[in-house]
Each structure stands twice: as structure tokens, then as C-alpha cells.
């Protein structure tokens, strides 16, 4: 079912750009890396590693103006949970479960400061820094009662696992139920989750399923299925937020394209850890600083991409707007699944 493997490591240029932004490399932390001469990007020079590598973004010109991201505002904020929570950028930090509690505390604080979500999935205990920052935390606990967090996730791996009673219990305790589901082309799973009251669906490519597909495919299919369930603002899509994550995601280019395919938030896993060089750096103060720099740099990159495409707001103009994108060298079946036109077609 898959064209590309999901176990791709982040290395080479992609890794260097992340490190430069985080300040683990180079001298201009928090800024989009500047390069020169022609691109070596996939699929034209380097080997494509994912469907994302076949997708290119638009540059607005003449028929509509681009927006100058250095001088004009480009809104990167995303509203979640019916507008209750405002993220400053469409990102979250995930893959914390093997870190010492001291670092988890730091990451939760830093995420809150930066206005992004911290995803504590897989974490047994909850760090004390969650208190007062619950809106920006997806709790690791998959049940009710043990946690103070308001966003609680329930891990779902198949349609039969949806337990409406559990969802009701979470809601009645004043929390927001979040489902974590694998990337699959069985979209009934996603529509079932949305109709049973979950406030957000995390499509996690690293979860296993019988019928696995690429994250790109799952996000696009899920977005389309939820939009076509119900009409207008009554469509299921407007009751639930779509969050995408995978270990292979490399940075803001990938985030931007996943937004275009329908996600509202992308949770970063390996890329932030490699960017701040967590393997060699465990001082919480440095980790916090690097994470802030990395997020700031990525936010600026998202502004560059949105501005170039003439979009002044990620949430209202980029999310689910496949028309901003074109695909290079994919076949008709895949173009149809993704809902993206072929590069060069009108």
C-alpha cells in the first residue's frame, strides 16, 4: 500500500537546517537558514523519501500578490477545540516518553511559553509543570481520573476500540477527549471517532494498523471524509481538529504541506530532538533555549512559505487548501487520493 517506507532517518541538509535554527550549529539561531545556488531538493536531484517530496508549494505572483513575510503580518496561529485554545503556530512537541522528568518539565514549560502543544503520550507520570498549563498539554494517560490535564487522549487502533461511554466520562469531567489513531485508508475509523465526540484526532503514522498508508494519504482522506460527513458548518470536520505526526517529519516544509492536505497541527517527534541535539545536550536551560529558537525559526519559515504563496493566515487559507499545492511525478491514482493537481496543470 505504501510507496515509501516510514522509517526514514533525518540527516544531511535537513538535519543541518534544524540544528542551525536551534542554535546547535552556526551563528544565527532562530532564523531560517539562508543558502545559495540551485536547489538539490528531491524529487529532481536527491531521491524522494516520501510523498511530501513530490509536493511543491505555490508562489503568488501577478494574478494575486505574495505577502512580504519580512515586513507584513502572516498569521500562524491555529485555534483548537472550538476556539478555546489558541496555538501561536501549528505545531506541537511529541516523543517525550524516554526523557528524564526534569527535561519533560522543561519542555512542557517551553511549549507553554511558545504557545504550542506538548504531547505527553507514553509518559507514565505527569510532570508538575503541567499544572496551570493544561490547555497546552495532551496528557499521556489514556483514561480518566489520574490526570489534571484537560486534554486527555485515548489511543485507538481499530474501529471496535471506540468506547462512547469513555468519551462521555472524559467530557463530563470537564476534559477534552483526544483520539490517537494510526494512518489508515479505512476512513470509517476517523468518522467514527469524530462522531463519537472526540475533539481532536491525532493521526500517528508510527502506530501500527492492518491497512497502513502514508501519513499524507491518511490525513487527506480523513480531511475529505470528515468534510463530506454532514453539510456546511454541520460537517463533522468542524467538530474535530486534525493533528498529524510521524517520526520521519523533517521540518516546516513538511508541516506546511501536511496543513495543506488537511491537518491543523503537526506534532514534531525526531526532528526537534535532533535539531536541539538532545543526545549531547541535556542541560534543561540550554534545551529550553534551543527549543525556543527552533520553534521561532520554524515559525518564520512557515511565514515565508505562506507569504510566498500569498496566504496571510495559515488556519484560514492554508489548512486543507490543496489548490496551493501541486504534485510532481505522481500517478493519477495518487493525485486523486491526495486531492492535489499535477504540476503544470491548470
Amino acid at each position: 500500500m505504501r510507496l515509501y517506507s516510514k522509517s526514514v532517518s533525518i540527516e544531511g541538509r535537513a538535519l543541518s537546517y534544524l540544528r542551525q535554527m536551534a542554535g546547535a550549529e552556526g551563528r544565527v539561531p532562530g532564523e531560517p537558514p539562508i543558502v545559495s545556488m540551485g536547489s538539490t531538493a528531491p524529487p529532481f536531484v536527491e531521491d524522494p523519501q516520501s510523498l511530501l517530496d513530490h509536493i511543491v508549494s505555490d508562489g503568488a505572483q501577478v494574478t494575486r500578490p505574495s505577502i512580504d513575510p519580512y515586513r507584513e503580518p502572516v498569521e500562524t496561529s491555529i485555534y483548537l477545540f472550538d476556539g478555546d485554545v489558541r496555538l501561536s503556530m501549528p505545531m506541537g512537541i511529541s516523543s517525550l516518553n524516554d526523557l528524564p522528568m526534569e527535561l519533560v518539565e522543561t519542555v512542557v514549560r517551553t511549549c507553554y511559553r511558545m504557545g504550542v502543544i506538548a504531547d505527553l503520550s507514553g509518559l507514565g507520570a505527569e510532570p508538575s509543570s503541567v499544572a496551570g498549563r493544561e490547555d497546552y498539554v495532551i496528557s499521556g494517560a489514556d483514561g480518566v481520573g489520574s490526570t489534571a490535564a484537560r486534554n486527555v487522549q485515548v489511543i485507538i487502533t481499530g474501529r471496535d476500540d471506540v468506547d462512547p461511554a469513555l468519551v462521555r466520562r472524559v467530557v463530563s469531567s470537564g476534559r477534552r477527549p483526544v483520539a490517537r489513531a494510526p494512518a489508515t485508508d479505512e476512513v470509517e475509523l476517523y468518522t467514527a471517532l469524530a462522531s463519537s465526540g472526540f475533539k481532536a484526532i491525532v493521526i500517528d503514522e508510527d502506530l501500527e494498523a492492518d491497512r497502513e498508508v502514508e501519513l499524507e494519504v491518511a490525513v487527506s482522506l480523513c480531511d475529505k471524509a470528515l468534510r463530506s460527513s454532514g453539510t456546511g458548518t454541520k460537517a463533522l470536520r468542524y467538530t474535530v481538529n486534525l493533528i498529524a505526526t510521524s517520526r520521519r517529519l523533517r521540518g516546516s516544509g513538511d508541516v506546511f504541506k501536511l496543513l495543506g492536505l488537511g491537518a491543523e497541527v503537526v506534532l514534531l517527534k525526531d526532528c526537534w530532538r535532533l535539531g536541539i541535539d538532545l543526545q549531547r545536550e541535556s542541560n534543561p536551560r540550554v534545551v529550553a533555549e534551543r527549543l525556543e529558537h527552533l520553534l521561532l525559526g520554524m515559525q518564520k519559515e512557515l511565514k515565508l512559505l505562506a507569504g510566498a504563496a500569498g496566504a496571510s493566515s495559515l488556519h484560514s487559507t492554508v489548512c486543507g487548501n490543496r489548490e496551493l499545492f501541486r504534485a510532481v511525478e505522481l500517478d493519477d491514482r495518487m493525485l486523486n487520493v491526495l486531492g492535489v493537481k499535477a504540476a503544470g496543470s491548470w
Partner: protein, 435 residues
């Protein structure tokens, strides 16, 4: 301003660079492979054709490299060694509704004074004069020696750095720069480290500040706005006006709009094109390859009945005469080369332009007392030779295709065949698959 000229340096400390550096080992994938660089160096050294069919395309993932002329499959001889130079093949053409004659339809791409360190700018402009091509001067004012050249094209870009009426009237044409292939939707970018005294004076910006041009022209937010600027510039200068855009999703509509609003031609710059500085995220994720953009723009212009007399110039990764021929077969009247010309002068593709310490002294920061200076005579001769050798290869290709004029090649998609291209790609190119 004369201090940049080695012949006027008074023989002081500077080493005059008049030979090539060794090509460094390429540790990661690169479009400008060692083979491509060596091919260009061969042309630049001899001024004679090296190949008929470009062997450097083998193994490349670029779409253009997976298009071949049917003729090559029948007659694959690649080397030009021992082949007679083709006689009687006409490579001259007229562009901009017949107002500009080109000895060969090659345009030396818009590289600015500041991005390049002066001597390369002069070498390119002088080479264009001596060979009968055109040289775009890029954004941000003109080097005083370039201003003395005839066959230059003045760029009117979003920051309007240093522009005035006198400057606009200097060249053969004016180009309204809307976008560039390396960073569609984003403005020009000259890092502050390269904004030295002379650049500060030409661009009229403070020394040491980044020169980041606005992403859009703030007086061009629509096709109608563009029309007003096109006609204002035509009236002010009396010259043909081109519009340069990046290859993007709506490039076909943009091309139709540009033609409808009275421009004389469009320069379409594709993904992968060179740049002096760009954010990596934009360079690597935005824009279409030129082969798709040219094919779709040409088709739209024909459908709208606006193709005649209007000039389509294709830019971005044009690395050989075969690339040029294929882009013309897809619908371009002329192609633009930038990186290839820099390689002819000694560029070794280390991607350091934005830092200002180019080992080949092409894109280095301009110094008051430089340690090394590019030889103007060497640079100019290499570019002239490249153009001659390139033209020789083009003639050999045309001869094998059975064409006697380069203009007959434009839009001849039937001469091409696609190797292993996806169906949607071939639909855009309107090229058959190899059976």
C-alpha cells in the same frame, strides 16, 4: 569605482585568477555534477562543441533529462569529436515582436551587481555585446562598466534599488522582475556582509544592511496593475518590456495575462535555478520545474491566440545545448543561462555565494584591497567560448533533427519522447511515452 579592475590595479598585491580551481569532490547529490562542470569547462576552453547529445543527463532524476529527442535513440553518437561543424544552420532569431535580433537565442541570466562581485558582471555584459546575445543586469543598479555595454537588459524589481530614467533607458529592453525560480513569491536577498561601500552607493542603502526586496511589487497586485507598469515603462523608455516570473502553479494564467497586457515577452524561471541567497525552505519546497512551466505556458498562449511575436524565455537549470533544444521544443523561443555562465568563469559549485567568500572570486564580497581578483579578460573569454561551443552543439543537434533554422524547433514536441515519466507529467508536456 575603477578599483575593481585588475588592469587598473597598478600591479599591487592582488593575485589575478585566470585559471580554474580543481572541482571539489561532491559528497551529496548535486544537479551540477562534476561531468556537467567539466563539459562546460571544455566548451569554455575550446569554443568548440564537445557533444552532440548531452551524456550528462544519464541517471538524472530531472524531468527534462528523462525527455529525449527520438533522433538520439536512432543515432546516439554523443561525441562531437571529428564531426564537421554544421554549416548552413541558421541559429539567429528575433525576439520581442522582432525588435531584438539575437545571434543565438541565449540570454545571460539576471545576476546582480552585489550578488556577483563586479568583474563577472562586466564579463557577462561584454560577452553579450561581442557575441550578439542579451545580458540581464539583475536587480540593484548597474556597474559603471556594464552601463557602457549595449546589449544589456535593465531590471525593474520590487525594491527599485538605484533606478532612474537614465538607467532604464540604457539597455535594449526592460524587464519587470516579479519572481525568480529559486524563491518564488519572495523578493531578492543580498546579505548585509556583501553590502559594501560601492554596493551601498549603487543601491542607495546603508553599508552592512541586508538588501531584502519586497516580496510583491506594492504597485502590482493584479494583472491590471501590471498593464499600467508595462505601458509606463514602454512610454518612458521606448524599449520592449519583458516580465520575469517564477514557475508556479498558475504560470499558464500568468503568461496569458502578461501577453494580454502588452508585454513583449515573459522570462519563466524554474525550480532549481541559481540564487545568491535564499531561505532554504523556500528554495527547496516552492515552484515548478521549468520544463512543465514552459509546456503549460506555451499551450495556454497558443490556446488564447497570443503566441505570435510574444517571446517565451525559459530559465532554470539550463545546462547544455540539448537542454536548450528540448526547452525550445516544449515551447520556448529563447533560453536563459546563469549558473552555466558562472561555471565557465570558474564556479565550482560550493554553494557559498551568500557568505561572500567564493573560492572562485565570482560571488565574493567586494574588498578594497582584495587578495584575489578574477581576471576580466579570462572571464570574458571563457563566457564567449562557452557561447561559441554551445552554439556549435546546438547546430549539431539541429542538423540531426533535420532542421535548418533554430526557430523551426519552437513547439516541436513531436520530436521528443518521454522515458518512464508518469502519465500526468506527460499530459502536461504533451509528449508521447517511449513504446
Amino acid at each position: 569605482m575603477m578599483e575593481q579592475f585588475p588592469e587598473r590595479m597598478g600591479g599591487k598585491e592582488a593575485i589575478i585568477v585566470d585559471r580554474y580551481l580543481n572541482i571539489p569532490r561532491q559528497s551529496s547529490p548535486e544537479f551540477w555534477t562534476v561531468n556537467r562542470i567539466e563539459h562546460i569547462r571544455k566548451l569554455a576552453a575550446t569554443g568548440r562543441p564537445a557533444f552532440v547529445w548531452d551524456p550528462c543527463k544519464s541517471g538524472s532524476k530531472r524531468i527534462l533529462d528523462r525527455l529525449v529527442f527520438r533522433r538520439e535513440l536512432e543515432d546516439p553518437v554523443p561525441s562531437a569529436e571529428g564531426l564537421e561543424e554544421s554549416d548552413g544552420i541558421e541559429v539567429e532569431s528575433e525576439i520581442a515582436h522582432g525588435r531584438i535580433r539575437m545571434a543565438v537565442p541565449l540570454y545571460l541570466g539576471d545576476m546582480s551587481f552585489g550578488a556577483l562581485s563586479g568583474i563577472p558582471n562586466v564579463a557577462l555584459a561584454r560577452a553579450a555585446d561581442s557575441t550578439g546575445l542579451l545580458c540581464g543586469v539583475g536587480e540593484g543598479g548597474v556597474h559603471p562598466e556594464v552601463a557602457k555595454c549595449k546589449r544589456i537588459v535593465i531590471q525593474w524589481a520590487s525594491a527599485r534599488f538605484g533606478l532612474n530614467l537614465h538607467l532604464l533607458r540604457l539597455g535594449e529592453a526592460v524587464v519587470i522582475k516579479i519572481g525568480q525560480g529559486a524563491k518564488p513569491g519572495i523578493g531578492g536577498h543580498l546579505p548585509g556582509t556583501k553590502v559594501v561601500e560601492i554596493i551601498s552607493r549603487t543601491r542607495r542603502i546603508p553599508v552592512g544592511t541586508d538588501a531584502i526586496s519586497p516580496a510583491p511589487h506594492h504597485d502590482i497586485y493584479s494583472i491590471e496593475d501590471l498593464e499600467q507598469r508595462i505601458w509606463a515603462l514602454k512610454e518612458a523608455t521606448g524599449k520592449p518590456v519583458f516580465v520575469k516570473v517564477a514557475a508556479t502553479n498558475y504560470v499558464a494564467y500568468v503568461a496569458a495575462g502578461v501577453a494580454r497586457m502588452g508585454a513583449d515577452g515573459i522570462i519563466i524561471d524554474g525550480q532549481g535555478a541559481g540564487t545568491g541567497a535564499a531561505p532554504s525552505v523556500v528554495r527547496d519546497n516552492v515552484g515548478l520545474p521549468i520544463e512543465l512551466a514552459v509546456a503549460t505556458a506555451d499551450a495556454m498562449l497558443r490556446r488564447e491566440g497570443m503566441r505570435d511575436g510574444f517571446t517565451v524565455i525559459a530559465a532554470g537549470r539550463v545546462s547544455s545545448a540539448e537542454d536548450m533544444a528540448k526547452l525550445m521544443a516544449l515551447g520556448a523561443d529563447c533560453v536563459s543561462i546563469g549558473t552555466a555562465a558562472l561555471i565557465a568563469m570558474g564556479c565550482v559549485m560550493v554553494h557559498k555565494c551568500h557568505l561572500g567568500f567564493c573560492p572562485a572570486v565570482i560571488t565574493n564580497r567586494i574588498e578594497e584591497n582584495p587578495k584575489k581578483l578574477l581576471s576580466l579578460e579570462f572571464a570574458q573569454r571563457c563566457v564567449e567560448n562557452l557561447i561559441r561551443g554551445w552554439t556549435g552543439e546546438l547546430k549539431l543537434i539541429l542538423e540531426r533533427l533535420g532542421l535548418s533554422k533554430v526557430t523551426e524547433l519552437v513547439g516541436r514536441r513531436d520530436l521528443l519522447v518521454g522515458l518512464g515519466l508518469e502519465e500526468p507529467t506527460r499530459r502536461v508536456l504533451v509528449v508521447e511515452a517511449l513504446q
